[in-house]
């Protein structure tokens, strides 16, 4: 059996990759994907704990996260398309109309 710490390590590596991608990348779609990566890193730790403690609540949580992530993806992609249509760019640094 694979020890719990391996899962958690992988989960935190995934999450750290997501954070790094979110911070470094400028393309909105890449940032979006980084967010998904973070969510799934967390999901991984949820299921790892669920398996480790033999509890179902962790798995239920994962479903919830996936549902929210799906809804978020739908809304987020719609916004991205809309942004691209008006600004003709996907670079977040140029989407700065609200900045002073």
């Amino acid at each position: 059996m694979v020890p719990l710490s391996y899962y958690l390590l992988l989960s935190s590596i995934l999450f750290a990759c997501g954070v790094a991608g979110f911070l470094i990348k400028r393309n909105i779609i890449t940032i979006f994907m980084s967010i998904e990566l973070m969510l799934n890193g967390v999901n991984l730790s949820f299921v790892a704990f669920a398996a480790h403690w033999h509890r179902l609540s962790g798995q239920v949580f994962v479903f919830f996260v996936m549902v929210v992530a799906a809804a978020e993806a739908a809304v987020g992609l719609a916004i991205i398309i809309s942004v691209y249509r008006t600004r003709e760019t996907l670079n977040v640094d140029q989407v700065n109309l609200l900045k002073l």
Binding site: V19, F22, L23, I24, V92, D93, N96, L98, K99, L100
Partner: protein, 679 residues
């Protein structure tokens, strides 16, 4: 059953006049303003006469309660009035002379654009002055005291667009504050020691006390502080400097406030507080010395002034000195007698001077007058009456009152008398100097009598006449002059001393006020040989032997007056070049006198300059700009600097926010791990 006199009406009537004119005068016609002003001040005078007529049938002192004012524990001060012989005299003088001056002002101020404002102030002054003399406690008196100061300030600065008038008003107000400070502290002392400010109660608790001959006690302190107040209001050394400057106001104001009534409030206050002063010999001596010095010094300054009103102003200061001299030797009734006659003749002199100024188109410099005797004969004759009266020519008002004072001060100390006689001589000299310069010789002014160097014509009531020839004033101005001239002539006969075959009725009339509370051990102010009843009774009952002595003294003072006349005649009529020669010979002395002994300059250097400098450097630049503004500005600066640095965190860059969040979360997690979560 005491009859109800409704005394409260007397002060309220002028107040109503002031309110009416002040509120609606601007939109009313001059006739309406005149009517209101004269009717209300005249009504107050009529009331005063009515009270005087019923006076013998009233049990005295008559007190009238109007309303509660302050009630705190056992202490109380009410709106209540007090009438005795002393306040009756003041009442008649204030309303009578005040009413006459109101009439005069109608003519004098007619062309002034702020006609209504003038009468509103004048009526307001009457209200406060009447409150002052009728009050039954020191606190209400203080209200009147401050109120007349306010009215005086407003009227001195009546032509406030002129810088000198505005600063003269300020000066009067500030100098008076110094005196009022002393007055106020004496009131606190009275409350502390006697728990009351009502005349009746205070004097009742003081009456059994014996004079503080051995050392200075509370009564001496109260007396001295009251005298500080009186010095401010009545322009005595060292606080007299405001009065000559107060001549910037319209001439009727100088006559009413700065000659006849307000400046005598100090004398009234001292006389009213005679119970205190009689038991504080040291304070009384201070009063006498201050009065004597003031009388003498102001008279010497008056000799060299060239502004007709300034001469009269210094003369007023000097005459007030006489009154304090009298009070200071315990001859309060003599002081009040002189107060009354002085109100007549000095009011007259000021009004006549106003008439002269009016005639020559606003010129106040006597060197530019002369030869006016034939051109304005009525003014000349009334002025002559006033001059003779103040100089102490026998038979006129000033003769009797001044002589009485001189006789009484001689009984206290011959030094007072010598200075008094010299002052009488000086008084006679400067008054006849004024008289000769103004009315005799050749006319030395501009032919058409336009604006003088003082620039008064710009504001002056007689702007209309600026181009006209020298002319007599209208009847409305001459009538008060005539009445006051008659009073100046006959006013003294109420107090003819025993030595001249009179009964000194005035002294007897005031006797109940001043005698009833004399201390039992009265040894200090009495002439030798007089034991009991004390000195207030002197003239009438004195043995015949002293009448001869008194007559000799009368003769000396008449001689002094005649000498003054002779000298003025020599200097300013017979030989007009002589004054210049004498002035050159006495260069240093003359210079000092012309510059009023440099007292203004001295005060400026010693008091005003350090105050202004201190306020500028320490209070304004130090405390206000550096400390208060500095604290506020610097904390704002500091906040701004901190914000300037920290605002870089909020760059608006989404990824930097995310970076902060990540770093923050990492920090929290690291912290939790380091602390050992879950153990």
């Amino acid at each position: 059953m005491t009859p109800n006199l409704n005394l409260w009406l007397i002060p309220i009537l002028p107040l109503a006049g002031a309110a009416l004119n002040g509120l609606w005068g601007r939109r009313s016609s001059r006739q309406a303003v005149t009517t209101v002003a004269l009717v209300f001040s005249g009504a107050a005078f009529a009331m005063a006469l009515w009270v005087a007529a019923r006076f013998s049938s009233i049990p005295l002192p008559y007190q009238e309660f109007l309303a509660h004012w302050i009630r705190s524990g056992t202490f109380g001060a009410d709106f209540a009035f007090y009438l005795d012989q002393l306040s009756l005299v003041m009442l008649l003088v204030v309303t009578g002379v005040g009413f006459l001056i109101h009439i005069y002002s109608v003519g004098y101020m007619w062309d002034d654009p702020s006609y209504y404002r003038f009468f509103a102030y004048l009526n307001l002054f009457m209200f406060f002055m009447l409150t002052l003399v009728l009050a039954n406690n020191y606190l209400l008196m203080f209200i009147g005291w401050e109120g007349v100061g306010l009215a005086s300030y407003l009227l001195i600065g009546f032509w406030f667009t002129k810088d000198s008038a505005a600063s003269a008003g300020k000066k009067a107000f500030i100098v008076n504050r110094i005196g009022d400070f002393g007055f106020l502290i004496s009131l606190f002392l009275l409350i502390q020691h006697f728990g009351s400010l009502t005349f009746e109660q205070v004097f009742h608790s003081i009456a059994p006390m014996s004079p503080e001959t051995a050392g200075a006690g509370v009564l001496t302190a109260v007396g001295l502080l009251l005298m500080v107040g009186a010095c401010g209001k009545s322009a005595q050394i060292p606080l007299y400097v405001w009065l000559p400057d107060a001549m910037e106001g319209p001439t009727p104001v100088s006559a009413l406030i700065h000659a006849a009534t307000m400046v005598t409030a100090g004398v009234y206050m001292v006389a009213r507080s005679h119970v205190i002063f009689e038991r504080a010999p040291m304070a009384l001596t201070v009063v006498a010395v201050i009065g004597t010095l003031t009388a003498f010094f102001a008279a010497t300054i008056g000799m060299a002034q060239t502004d007709i009103k300034k001469v009269l102003a210094y003369s007023t200061v000097s005459q007030l000195g006489y009154m304090f001299m009298a009070c200071g030797v315990g001859a309060f009734s003599a002081g009040i007698f002189h107060l009354m006659t002085h109100a007549f003749f000095k009011g007259l002199l000021f009004l006549a001077a106003g008439s002269v100024i009016h005639a020559v188109g606003g010129e106040q410099d006597m060197r530019k007058m002369g030869g006016l005797r034939t051109k304005i004969p009525l003014t000349f004759w009334t002025m002559t009456a006033g001059t003779l009266a103040i100089a102490g020519i026998p038979g006129l008002a000033g003769f009797f009152s001044k002589d009485e004072i001189l006789w009484r001060v001689y009984q206290a100390s011959w030094i007072y008398w010598v200075v008094g006689i010299v002052t009488a001589f000086l008084t006679s000299f400067y008054m006849f100097r004024l008289w000769f310069l103004t009315f005799f010789g050749e006319y030395r002014g501009d032919a058409d009598g336009t604006a003088g160097e003082h620039g008064h014509a710009a504001h002056h009531a007689d702007r209309r006449h600026g181009h006209a020839a020298i002319h007599e004033s209208p009847p409305v101005m001459l009538a008060p002059l005539a009445i006051l001239a008659i009073l100046s002539v006959v006013g003294g006969y109420v107090g003819v001393p025993g030595s001249l075959g009179g009964g000194n009725r005035f002294d007897k009339f005031l006797d109940p006020v001043f005698r009833s509370t004399m201390p039992a051990l009265n040894t200090q102010q009495n002439a030798p040989g007089e034991t009991n009843p004390p000195e207030q009774q002197t003239e009438g009952t004195e043995p015949q032997t002293s009448h001869a002595t008194e007559l000799v003294f009368t003769g000396i003072s008449v001689a002094a007056a005649v000498l003054g006349f002779g000298l003025a005649w020599t200097f300013y009529y017979r030989d007009p070049q002589l004054p210049e020669r004498v002035a050159t010979d006495l260069d240093g002395l003359y210079d000092a006198v012309v510059h009023k002994y440099y007292i203004d300059e001295l005060y400026g250097e010693v008091f005003v300059k350090p105050l202004v400098e201190g306020s500028t450097r320490i209070l304004w630049q130090g405390v206000d700009q550096n400390l208060i503004d500095g604290t506020v500005n610097n904390s704002a600066q500091a906040a701004r600097h901190v914000s300037d640095e920290t605002r870089h965190m909020q760059s608006g860059n989404l990824r930097s926010y995310a970076g902060w969040i990540a770093a923050g979360s990492a920090a929290i997690i690291a912290f939790m791990i380091w602390m050992g979560v879950g153990q």
